[in-house]
């Protein structure tokens, strides 16, 4: 699946979920690549963001980052520092 990751106010990334799945499986000591379903956290890792510095929205609704990606369009809001 083709996924658009829109980091608000910054860049938009076009990712192939299969490629993200491969990278996620490579990064883990165990697990069969065929079973690896990339999560929103895996997408964030691909665009070099930490889940602790952003919120991930799908259709305007926050999603838990450990969940498998089910949408082809993901919005990422970076946390605003300060007060």
């Amino acid at each position: 699946m083709h996924v658009t990751v829109d980091v608000k106010g910054e860049d938009t990334y076009e990712l192939e979920l299969e490629a993200v799945a491969g990278a996620a499986a490579d990064g883990e000591a165990t697990g069969d690549p065929a079973d690896a379903t990339p999560t929103y956290a895996d997408l964030l890792r691909e665009v070099e963001l930490s889940p602790h510095e952003v919120s991930v929205l799908v259709d305007g609704r926050p999603v838990p980052e450990d969940q498998p990606v089910e949408s082809d369009h993901v919005t990422v809001l970076r946390l605003i520092k300060g007060g």
Binding site: S50, H52, S55, V63, L79
Partner: protein
């Protein structure tokens, strides 16, 4: 993915606890942590009564942290005649940035029917941060000047408003960063000061007649969750970063903590809880040292360890 506590869809996952929570249970969880911190830090003294209410001044910048803090404290104490909340906003003179967040503060305080006070660097000191960064006589980062001026005005107005407590919206990430910075700098005396200034339970802090005590009730809540709370509660938090923000060392520590938290969930919590214990021990060791060399600034009369306080010497350099 369902919420762990009901059948609603989860909106968040906290890796440090394993919890998946829906909007309502997430909000409840944040509020519970803030109220537990208020209790643990003994913020409501036993002698507070409706006839002798406590004034709590909240440093309200209009950003997500202070807006969420104000909202939760309001919801907790709106019906409690022992506590009166006041929002205190400081305008630093940053074009196009602070104007909008002041609007967020005004809107929030009107909604919640909380008294709101607005003060500015320009009226108080005759300077604006936009000009300070241009001038930069001390060759420092903008935050170094701004922090000195902000702390001075927060203290001054907390006193003028006869505050019993000055509350700020520092979250878990902020405090874990500060803790780690103090550890890495080897500054044990600073840990003791941190305990007496804002970390320790009020009943255990060394008496400091010169300053209004401070508290940080959001410090158990990760920054990401504060932002999520503001989002799901649709709070009028201002969402622009300060154009002058530049704290290089803190940024480095922040990145380090993101990486650690990713591989070892719960690191921020354990850093802060260990640090609080160390700070308690440090405060006992340094007890009595504080205040010995405090005096009044010859220029403005504020409490300082020098003849002329840091704020006055910076203002002197700027003019």
């Amino acid at each position: 993915m369902d919420c762990n506590r009901c059948n609603e869809e989860a909106v968040m996952h906290a890796a440090y606890s394993g919890a998946h929570l829906c909007e309502d249970h997430f909000r409840e969880s944040v509020e519970k942590r803030v109220r537990r911190r208020v209790r643990r830090d003994d913020l409501v003294p036993h002698d507070a009564t409706p006839e002798n209410p406590q004034t709590w001044v909240i440093g309200l910048s209009g950003g997500k942290d202070s807006v969420v803090l104000t909202r939760i404290l309001h919801d907790t104490f709106a019906e409690d005649p022992r506590i009166e909340l006041v929002g205190l906003t400081i305008h630093e003179g940053i074009e196009g940035y602070r104007d909008k967040s002041v609007e967020a503060c005004v809107e929030l305080c009107e909604d919640l029917e909380i008294r709101h006070e607005l003060v500015s660097y320009e009226e108080e000191f005759g300077v604006r941060m936009d000009d300070v960064v241009e001038d930069d006589p001390e060759n420092m980062a903008a935050c170094a000047y701004c922090g000195v001026f902000r702390r001075d005005l927060l203290s001054k107005y907390a006193e003028e408003l006869e505050a019993d407590l000055l509350l700020t919206g520092h979250n878990l990430d902020d405090e874990a960063q500060t803790a780690l910075m103090n550890v890495l700098e080897g500054d044990v005396e600073q840990m003791a000061k941190h305990f007496d200034a804002s970390l320790g339970p009020l009943s255990e802090r060394e008496e400091q007649d010169e300053f209004v005590p401070r508290a940080k009730p959001l410090r158990d809540v990760p920054e990401k969750e504060v932002a999520l709370y503001a989002h799901v509660d649709d709070l009028p938090a201002h969402i622009t970063e300060c154009p002058h923000a530049s704290e290089a060392y803190r940024g480095e520590i922040q990145q380090l903590l993101y990486d650690l938290e990713e591989n070892h969930p719960g690191t921020r919590h354990s850093i802060l809880s260990g640090y609080e214990e160390l700070a308690t021990i440090a405060a006992e060791k340094y007890a009595g040292d504080d205040g010995a060399d405090l005096q009044e600034c010859v220029e403005c009369g504020s409490t300082t360890t020098r003849d002329v306080c840091r704020k006055c010497s910076l203002l002197e350099a700027l003019v």
